[in-house]
Assembly symmetry: none
Homo-oligomer: 412 residues x 2
């Protein structure tokens, strides 16, 4: 089985200024290609160090994936280090220079002189297109090893990896078939889900089941490996079926679907609409819904009714309710959802009120207390939650839980 090493370049990674999410992304993606990452090296912006890590990584693996250090400034030294490692010179590529200039032109700006360095790549290597930024990547081959250098900016790296590096890796490991399927779950934590699926997550199994968690969404990655495409596919399908049977409605989607996409798809295809009235989440729920391109088909309006005045004035929440039960109450959450649906003339509306913290909690209404209400044709459903974690976690869990309630309401 072919193996990969990942090199992350950047002083900001060593200093702890930036958490290296690129390396985790590559580890997970490569595993799904059937290429385990066996070593990871992190090095600062210094030519000698990068050269040494390239040499080590090439000893350890068949594929070496490098991120970072392709920027235009004096501390971006990865392309120089690759040239030194390969024992060649950097060459100015006029076509790349033209592309970089065009990138700035399209934004009505002149190319700063420093960016010209990004048009240089080591002699004998290939440029990898960057559709989202100015720095092309670099692909080098040496003694049967493939070295791919990508930018450190996560969205540029991810796009470049998927579009241009994955095909190269796939070709280099032909003969081995890996089928990956993902199940996306919401509603229980990682360990509760691990308990439900029993021994499926044991290492060394085939199919392998890996688990990652992001903002409350637990993703199970089913990786089936075989030398026969049909067999790998069947193994993955069977495993997915068995996991679905154990997890029931905790599974909301497959692949990289988000809760907002699953809810949005159903609303769009059934011609239904949704509004949001949120307090403690402060716009996050609307933000997540509108992360989905095309969400204007079903999402029309949101209110961030942060003050009591705004709740009453914009959503018609009776001031009597606010006075009697307090802003963080089941009654106010329901009235917010009903008010939003009424004003926006939508089929469904979400109402959210809670205490995100760190301040504002009391013994009766502690930080993390949240009420979420869904109003629709079938009536109003309101639930009470007590979420753990800091302000950011409470807000994310609240918004995601609201979308999950809409999903269940839609029968998904």
């Amino acid at each position: 089985m072919k193996k990969a090493s990942v090199i992350s370049v950047g002083n900001e990674l060593l200093d702890g200024q930036t958490v290296d999410t690129n390396a985790a992304f590559l580890g997970s993606e490569l595993l799904c290609l059937g290429i385990p990452v066996t070593r990871r090296f992190t090095v600062g912006d210094e030519i000698d160090g990068i050269v040494r890590m390239l040499a080590l990584a090439c000893q350890e693996a068949d594929f070496v994936l490098v991120t970072g250090g392709l920027g235009p400034t004096a501390d971006d030294l990865t392309r120089q280090a690759l040239a030194a490692f390969l024992g060649v010179e950097l060459e100015l590529r006029q076509d790349l220079l033209g592309q970089i200039k065009a990138f700035f032109d399209s934004r009505g700006r002149a190319m700063p002189q420093v960016n010209a360095i990004q048009a240089h790549i080591p002699a004998g290597t290939e440029a990898i297109p960057n559709d989202l930024g100015t720095a092309p990547g670099i692909l080098a081959r040496r003694e049967g090893k493939v070295i791919a250098i990508m930018p450190g900016v996560p969205f540029e790296m991810r796009q470049m990896f998927g579009q241009s590096v994955v095909p190269v890796l796939r070709e280099a490991c032909s003969g081995q078939v890996v089928v990956v399927q993902r199940l996306r779950c919401f509603g229980e934590g990682e360990s509760a889900i691990a308990e439900r699926i029993g021994p499926a997550m044991q290492r060394g199994r085939n199919p392998l089941v890996n688990c990652t968690v992001d903002h409350g969404v637990v993703t199970l990655h089913v990786v089936a490996t075989s030398d026969e495409p049909g067999k790998a596919r069947r193994m993955a399908d069977q495993e997915v079926e068995s996991l679905r049977a154990r997890l029931g409605p905790l599974v909301f989607g497959t692949g990289d679907q988000t809760l907002a996409q699953v809810v949005g798809n159903r609303l769009a295809t059934s011609g239904k609409t949704l509004a949001v009235a949120e307090s403690c989440t402060g716009g996050l729920t609307a933000k997540i819904l509108t992360d989905v391109a095309g969400s204007s088909r079903y999402f029309t309006c949101g209110w961030v009714a942060y003050s009591n005045t705004a709740k009453a004035r914009e959503l018609g929440v009776p001031t009597g309710l606010l006075d009697t039960y307090g802003a963080v109450s089941e009654q106010v959450a329901s009235a917010m959802a009903q008010g939003a649906r009424h004003r926006a003339h939508t089929d469904y509306a979400i109402g959210i009120t809670g205490i995100a913290g760190p301040a504002g909690g009391t013994a009766e209404r502690p930080v993390g207390l949240v009420f979420i209400s869904i109003d629709g044709d079938g009536g109003t459903t309101t639930e009470r939650f007590r979420f753990a974690g800091d302000r950011d976690s409470v807000r994310w869990r609240t918004a995601q839980t609201a979308l999950n309630m809409v999903r269940l309401r839609l029968g998904l």
Copy 2:
């Protein structure tokens, strides 16, 4: 200057199941002790691999900090690897066994037999107390190098590091002082800022100036090193002063301040309030503003006026403007800001309309075209932007730029 290497052990790190926040924590803590981390290695749960990484790390640095692989199960192999690296045997320490048994006793449970392995450490090394879990750490000294092995569980590692490892490191590098200051900038890209500050970012300088970018915010890290505390402080101060002079109003803050914090602080201290009416950012602007704890002092209400109907009904944008100029226009952005300020009775309001993409662009109104308006006592200012990148980038750049416009309007 003494240097450190960090080794992170665990298959879950290589697979991308777990993002390595321990390494970032250690990098940041060590830098503040004046001990830069110059290399980081990540390796799976395998004895040979860990031994090789220990050898490499000892070549590269004076201090080697290792996290992970101290658990009680068969795949936890760091203590065995350390023994192999040192060429000694593991020894059962009765005192450690007693502590582990006491840990379980205090929770009313018998010690599972597997945990006995955690009472073993390599001959000639010291145990590091673990107040929060069962696995003691291990401190080894070899040829002038210090190796500290800590658990991978973040809260156990952090407590052990602060309580027992920091004193050892401090003693080993008395005499060296490092002062770090950060300047936070917004309004130009990394390369334009690098051009403005000229040679300040050259490698090998002291103070060293590093640059990181996150969601359009460029952070300059000034790291001054000396054997004299007063001198390091003066060097850092002088560098910061010189950078500020070159960057002018691009600098909005220091440390880890965000645009939302800087704007929020000023609004709070001056008793002013802010509302937001946003379309293409879909709630993100309100979300960023309310990321700040205590933002309810100045942020009262937000509208996500996604449909034209919502813009007219909720914010009073004249339908004539929407028909004549289109929803994505200077006129509609201004009317949104004015409508929000009027309805919410705030001192300031933001209006945002644009095309986040990927669909919806035309030759005249391409993806990334955004109008941002600020309404306040001094009148309404509206600017036109063309942002690059995908939907997420366009939305982030838009929201941050809106906050930056408020900052400049507040004279910050």
